[in-house]
Amino acid sequence: MLMLLVFSCGVLLAQKTISGKVTDETGIPIPNVSVVVKGLSIGTITKEDGTYSLSVPDNGRTLVFSGIDKQPVEVAIRDKATIDVVLKDQDSSLEEVVVVGYGVQSRKELTGNIVTVRGTAVADKPVQSFDAALAGRAAGVQITVPNGVLNNPPVFRIRGTNSINLSSQPLIVIDGMVTYTGDVSSTIAASNVLSNINPADIESMDILKDAAATAIYGSRAANGVVVITTKKGKKGRAKMTYDGWVGLTSPTRMWEMLNAQEYMTIKNEGTANLGIPDRYLPSYNADGSMVDTDWGDVIYRDGVSHNHGLSVSGANDMTSYFFSIGYTDQEGIVRGNDFNRKTVRFNADHKATSWLTFGLNASYANELNAATINTGSLPDAAFASAGAGRLALALPPNVSPYNPDGSYNLNGNAIGRGNNIENITFWNPQPILDKNYAHTTNNRVIGNFYLMAKPTRDITFRSSYGIDYLLTDNKNFYTALIGDGFANNGSAFSTLNKNQRWTWTNTLQYDKTFMDKHSVGLLIGSEQQKSTNEGFGLLRQGVSDAFYDVIQGGFTTPLATGLGLGENFLGSYFGRASYDYDKKYFVSGSYRRDGYSAFAPGLKWGNFYSISGAWDIAKESFWQGGLADVVNTFKLRASYGTVGNISGIGNFASFSFFSGSGLYQRNPTLTFSQAGNNLLSWETSKKTDIGFTFGLLNDRISGEFAWYNNDIDGLLLSVPNALSTGMPNSVLQNVGAMYNRGVEFTLNATPIMGKDFTWNTSFNITYNKNQVTRLAEGVDNIPTATQLETANITLPGYSIGMTYVVESRGVDPQTGRRVLVDENGRELLYDHSAPSGQRYTYRDNGQVAPNLNTALAQKVWKNTNPQYFGGFENTFKYKNFDLNILLTYQLGFYVYNGTRATTLDQRFWNSNKEVLNRWQKPGDVTDIPRLVYADNTSNGSAFPISDNVEKGDFLRLRNLSLGYNLPFEVASKLKISNARLYISGQNLFLATKYRGPDPEVSSNGTGNANQGVDRNTVGNARVLTVGLNVGF
C-alpha cells in the first residue's frame, strides 16, 4: 500500500484543518486511503472508520484521495472544512489492467478486443456455474440457458456460432490453465464441469474476442477465450467475509393443459370422428370424486436452495493469501434434481527474494449432481420414455399416480389406464421419482504452482506447472417397478471416469521503455498439455430382492459398462511483440505454433498469428482544448489474425479402426468401428476486428464500438454418408466455410452521481450475421437431428441450423384438415381417418396423393441464430439502498416449438388448451385441425411442420436485486466492517410472443447445427433469493 506520511515542517503558512470521511459506493468506510494535498508533500491516511483529518496550508488548493483498487478522486478545497468522498471501484475505468494471454496489460494500451466482467456479476447468483450468469454482461457474448435442469451447460457463444461439427463453446482458462468444459455426466443428471469453480472465488473474467487477443491461444481460440482470474489477498489486515443466500426456485410460464373432463371430451371427439365408441372414461377416487391429476404438480416442485461462502484474505509486502470455503445446496424445479457443491480454495503468492516470487492457486471441489427422472431436456433425450418434460404434458389427467388404496397405479411397464379403454402406455413417473436415482459426483483438484524470476528490472521469467484432476463418479439405480429398469427386473450401474491433465508453461517477458517514449514488450514461451481419460464401470441387472437399491446389492447379471481410454497431447511455442510510441501509437503481433496429437501424421503442427494496432487520437495535440473537455478518450483499434479450433475432435480421429470389444456367442469379434481421415488437420478462422473506444465528460460516459468479421475456412465437417455406404461414422474433413460478421456497441454512463443518489447504466448490443458459404463437395446440405426428429438444416447461403420443416398452410376451413405442401408445391390435405396410403389428397382435385416424402418435402424455413442480443443494466444507489436491474434480450430468430406438437397430439396424450379451439364444422376458421383419434401427423409429431416454428424474440428481466447496507455506526456496534442485506429475483418477467414456456431454450444443449429446438424440454425456472454479505 502506498502510504504518504510526510508532514509539513518549517514552512510558516497559515494552516486550516480539513476533515471528512471516505466511503465506497455502498457507504462502507474505507481505511488506509491516502489523502494528499496536490502539489505539496503533505498528506495522511484514513482511519479504520474512514475518517481523516489534515492540516492544509493556505496554498493547498486540491486534495487527492487514492486507495487500493479505487479510482483516485481530486476535490477542490476552496473554503470547505469538511470533505467527504466516495471512492469508486476501478472496474468501470479505462485505467484498469486487463488479463491478456500469458500476461496483463493496461486497458489503455490494448490493441485487441477484450471485455472484462467482474466476479461480482456472477457471485451471489442462484446458478451452478459462472457462465450461466454471464448473459447480457458483455457485447458479443450470447448465453442461452437451455432449460431449468440444474447444471445443464449453457450455450456460450462469442460472436456467433463459429463451428458446425466441432464445439462452438469458448476456451476457458482458469488462473493460466486451460480447463475442461462441457457435461461430464454419464447419468441423466447434467454436470457442467465449469460448476466445479465456485463463482464467489472469481475476481474477474476477461473475455477475449478478436485475433489480437486470442491468437496467442492458437489452435483453441476460434470461439474466443475466457480468462478467469481467481481472487487474491489485498494489502491490509486480514479480511474475512461471509456471503450467504436462501432461494426459492419455481417453474414459470408452464403450458396450460386440459383438465380431466376437457381431456375426455376432446379425446372422445377424436374417436367419434373415426366412428368408434368412447375410449376415454372417468375414474374415481376413494371419496367418489373424479380423478383429475395435474401431472405438472407430480413432476415439478418449488425448490429451496441455499448457499454459503466464507473467505479470509490479506496481504503484506511479501505475501498475499486468499482462502475460501463454499457450500451450496440447490433444488431444481424437477423433483429430485439437486445440486450440492463443497469447495475449498487456497491462493497464495510470496516474494521470496527481491527477484524471486512463487505462488500457488489450488482448489478442490466435491460436487453432487442428482436426478431421479430423466428430464428429457438434455441432448439426445427429447423423446426419452421417462422424459419428465413430456410426461408432465402428455399423461392423461383422468388417471392417477396412485390407486385408491394408495399403491402405485401400474399396468405392467405402464401407468394403469383407470377406466379408459385405451392403454396409456407412458410410464407412471411417481415410482420413478420415488425409487430411482442418478448421482454424478465430481471430485476435482486444480492446482497450479508458479515460480517467477526477475533477474533484472526488465526481464521476467515465469514457469508454472499445474494439474487438473477430475474424477467423475456416476451411480444410477432403476427400480424394477416401472421404467428403464422394468424389462431387466431392476438395474444399477456405477462408472468412474478419470480425466487427468497436466500443463506446463514457461514464459520469458521483456519490457523496456527507451528514451521515455518507445515502449517495447516481448514475450516468448512454450507450453505442454497432456490429457488422459480412463473410464470403467459395472452394470448389474435383475435385482434379486426389492430390498436392494445399490450396485453392491444382490443382482443376477453383471456386465461391464463405461469403458474408455484416451489421451491427447498439445505442445506449443508462442510469442508476442508489442511496441508503442508515447502511449499514442500501438502495434502488436502474436504468434503460436501448436502441435496436436489427434491430427494426422505429418499434419500435426499448425501456425497461428495476429497483428494489431491502435491510435489514441485523444493524445494528439490537435485534440487538446475544447474537444478534449468533451471527448477525453478516443482510441481507434484494428486487428487481423488466424486462430484454430480443435475442441470436439476425437483423440484418434485420423485413424481408421476396427473394434475388438464385441462378442458373438462368447467369442471375440472384430468390426469396422471408425472411418478416419488421414488428412485431418486444423480448422482455422481468420478474424478481423476494427473498432474504437471513447470516453466523454471525463469518462462519465464511455463506450466501445467494434466491427468484426470471422471467416472460418477449412471448416471441419462431418460429411454425412448415405446409409447404404454402411459407414460406421461420418468422417471429419477440412472442407466447409462459414462466416460470422457483426457489430458490437457498448455504452456505459453515470447519468447521476450525487452524494446520496447515483445511477449507473450500461447497455450493450450485438448484431451478428452467420452464414455458411460452403459445405463438402457433393453435399449440398446437412440436416441435423434432434434425437428422433430432424428439424434443422445447414446449407450454403443460410445461417447454420435453419429450421427445416414441411410447410403447413393452416387448416382447410371446409374439411378441417391440415394443409401441407409437397415437394412440387402442391397443397395436400391430410386426413388421419382415411385408410393408410389414402390419407393425403390433393387440395385442388381431391384425388389421392402419394404419401408425403418428408425428406423431399421439408423446406428450409427460418433462422435460429439470434441476430441481435445484449443486455441493459441499471444500478441505482440511494443512501444505504442499492437497486440493480439487468435486462437481457435476443432478437431476430425463430424456435422450432416441437413441444407444441406434443401438446396437440391426438393419441391418448393430453393436449394444451389451444385444442379447445379445434375445427368442428365446415366454415370454422382455426389452426387446430379436426380431431381424429391417434392422429399424430396433423399436429406435427410425425414430422416437423411450419406451424410449430415461432418467433423467439424476447426481453427478460434477468436479475432484479434490492440491497440495504447497514449504516457504519450500526455495523461497528456489531463489530463488523460492513453488512449488506438483499433480496433478488431471477427471471421475474419475460416479454415474448413465443407460445412455449421460454424461447431461450435448447433441446440439443450446446449443439451448433441443431439449435433453436424446443422438444419436450422443461422450462426455465424463476428464482427468488434473500441474501446477506458481511465483512469482518
Partner: protein, 487 residues
C-alpha cells in the same frame, strides 16, 4: 549480488526451457483399445474374429436379432397392436411408416452395415487375408458372402416389390459390392430386383461350395453358416422368386425322399419330436440358423422378441402385440389338440404368443430358418410344379402337422386340386412360423394384399393391396438426402 540473481535465473531458464521443448514423440499417440485397419488381417484369429463380427452384425436388434422378424409378423394379420408407440413397430403394423421414421432408417442401415463389413472383409481377404488364412480362407470368404446374401434378401423384403411382380424388373436396392472406408461414395442407383436376387444366389452358390459341411459343435452349427445353411437360404430365396423348380432342386439336397425327412449330408437336420423343444433347446438339428443371445450379449432395449409378444408386465415384457382372434389364431382347422396352440398365454382377456417366454433381458434365441421351413417350401414347390396332388408334397405337410397335432393327417384325397393343397401348405406355414418373421415373406412372394385387421372397439387397418404405396416401406430419408441417384 545482482550478478548472482542473473546467473541463477539463467540456469533456471536453461533447465526449464530445454525440458520445456515439445518432443515430437509426445504427439504420436495410439489407441490401446482399437485395431488400426492395417492390422486386422495379420493373423488368422483376427480374420476369424472379423467373420464373427459379420454374424454379430446380422444379429443387430434392428435386423435378425428381433426387429426384422417383428416387422415381418406385425405387418400381416396375425397380431393386434396393444401400444400406440410408433417406435415399437406400431407404424409397421398400421402401414404408416414414413421415410424419416427410425425403423425405416435403422433397418436399412443395419443391413448395409453388415454388407459393408462383408465387402471390406472380402476385399481384405483378396489383398492379404487369403494368404494368412491358408486353407480356411475359402470357408471364411463363403461365410462373408452368405452373410451378405442374407442382408440383401432382408432389404428386398421391405424396400422392393416382390420378384414375381414384373419378374424382378422393378427397382431393388443399391447393390454395393466393394468395401467403403471413406466419404465420397454416397451416390449409387438402385439395381433391379432381379439383379439383387442374382447376386444373392451367386453369393449363396459360392457359400454352398466353400462352406464346411459342419462344425465341431451343435452351437456352431446353429449360429454359423455351413453348407446346409446356404442351401436352406437358397430354398427361401428361390421361393421368394417363385422359382419353384429351383426350390425343389435345392431342398432335395437336404431333404430325404421319404419320411422321416432329414438331411443326409452335412448337419443332420431333422424335425424334433416336440415342437416346444425347439424353443427351449436352441441348438437342435431343426434350427438351421438362429441368432444367439446370452447374459453378456443381450438384445437391445425395446428390441427383444419376448418384450413385444409376452403380456405387459410378465417377466418385464411390454405386451405390445397380441394375437388377433380373427387371424390364424381363429383358424378353425387349427385344432385344439395342436401343441403349437400351447405356445400362448391368456392375459388381460387377450391371447399372447409365448414362443419366447424368457423374462428380461429376453435371451431366447431368434430363429431365422428352421428345417420345417425347408420341408414346407419343398412341399409347396412340388405342389406348384406337379400336375396332380403329389404324395410326397402331402407327406412333407404331414411331417410338420403331425409333429404338433397327431390328430390331423392329410391324405392326397383331402385335396381336390393342387391349389387346395397349396392353400393347406400356406395355412400350415402360417401356423408353424407364427412370430418367426415368415408371414410377410409369404404374402409378398405371392404378391397378395396384406389383410385388414381391427382392434375390437378400436382402430382398424384396411387391407393393403400391392398397388398401394404402403405395400413397401418408403426409402429412408437418410439415404434419399445424400444418395442423389437413389430415386
Amino acid at each position: 549480488m545482482k550478478k548472482n540473481n542473473l546467473l541463477y535465473s539463467l540456469i533456471l531458464l536453461m533447465i526449464l526451457s530445454t525440458t520445456g521443448c515439445v518432443k515430437d514423440a509426445n504427439l504420436e499417440t495410439f489407441s490401446r483399445t482399437s485395431f488400426s485397419d492395417a492390422t486386422v488381417f495379420e493373423t488368422k484369429d483376427r480374420i476369424e474374429n472379423q467373420v464373427r463380427g459379420l454374424y454379430a452384425g446380422l444379429r443387430a436388434s434392428n435386423l435378425l436379432g428381433s426387429r426384422y422378424l417383428i416387422y415381418n409378423d406385425v405387418r400381416a394379420e396375425n397380431f393386434l397392436s396393444n401400444d400406440p408407440n410408433r417406435v415399437t413397430a406400431r407404424a409397421a403394423w398400421e402401414f404408416s411408416e414414413a421415410d424419416t421414421d427410425n425403423e425405416v432408417n435403422n433397418l436399412w442401415n443395419a443391413c448395409y452395415t453388415v454388407i459393408n463389413r462383408a465387402n471390406l472383409f472380402l476385399d481384405g481377404m483378396v489383398e492379404k487375408g487369403n494368404a494368412v488364412a491358408g486353407e480356411d480362407a475359402a470357408r471364411f470368404n463363403a461365410e462373408a458372402r452368405f452373410v451378405r446374401a442374407v442382408a440383401y434378401y432382408s432389404l428386398l423384403q421391405f424396400f422392393a416389390m416382390p420378384y414375381p411382380d414384373g419378374n424382378g424388373s422393378k427397382p431393388g436396392v443399391p447393390l454395393r459390392l466393394v468395401g467403403i472406408k471413406g466419404g465420397g461414395m454416397n451416390d449409387l442407383a438402385r439395381s433391379t430386383v432381379a439383379q439383387v436376387y442374382g447376386q444373392i444366389i451367386d453369393d449363396l452358390n459360392f457359400a454352398e461350395t466353400n462352406l464346411p459341411l459342419n462344425y465341431s459343435s451343435a452351437e456352431l452349427n446353429t449360429i454359423r453358416a455351413h453348407r446346409n445353411t446356404a442351401i436352406a437360404f437358397k430354398v427361401r430365396a428361390y421361393l421368394s422368386m417363385a422359382d419353384y423348380p429351383s426350390v425343389v432342386t435345392e431342398a432335395n439336397k437336404i431333404v430325404s425322399a421319404s419320411a422321416p425327412f432329414a438331411a443326409s449330408t452335412g448337419v443332420a437336420h431333422a424335425l424334433q419330436a416336440n415342437i416346444a423343444d425347439v424353443f427351449s433347446n436352441y441348438m437342435t438339428t431343426e434350427s438351421i440358423f438362429s441368432m444367439p443371445f446370452n447374459a453378456n450379449e443381450q438384445p437391445g432395449g425395446q428390441s427383444q422378441l419376448g418384450f413385444y409378444y409376452m403380456p405387459n408386465g410378465v417377466g418385464g415384457a411390454a405386451g405390445i402385440f397380441y394375437l388377433n382372434p380373427s387371424g390364424i389364431w381363429g383358424e378353425p382347422s387349427w385344432t385344439a389338440a395342436d401343441e403349437r396352440r400351447d405356445m400362448t398365454v391368456v392375459n388381460d382377456g387377450k391371447t399372447w404368443l409365448s414362443k419366447y417366454p424368457s423374462p428380461g433381458p429376453f435371451l431366447d434365441w431368434a430363429p431365422i430358418i428352421r428345417y420345417s421351413d425347408v420341408l414346407l417350401s419343398l412341399s409347396e414347390a412340388i405342389a406348384r410344379t406337379s400336375s396332380t396332388v403329389d404324395t410326397r408334397a402331402v407327406a412333407l405337410l404331414n411331417a410338420v402337422r403331425n409333429r404338433a397335432d397327431a390328430t390331423t393327417t392329410f391324405t392326397t384325397g383331402d385335396f381336390a386340386t393342387n391349389d387346395a393343397l397349396i392353400a393347406a401348405i400356406l395355412l400350415e406355414r402360417n401356423i408353424e412360423f407364427l412370430g418367426e418373421g415368415v408371414r410377410s415373406l409369404d404374402i409378398l412372394r405371392l404378391v397378395q394384399p396384406f389383410p385388414a385387421k381391427a382392434v375390437p372397439g378400436g382402430v382398424s387397418v384396411n387391407a393393403v393391396a400391392p398397388s398401394n404405396q404402403a405395400y413397401l416401406w418408403p426409402l429412408p430419408s437418410e439415404e434419399v438426402r445424400y444418395n442423389k441417384l437413389i430415386n
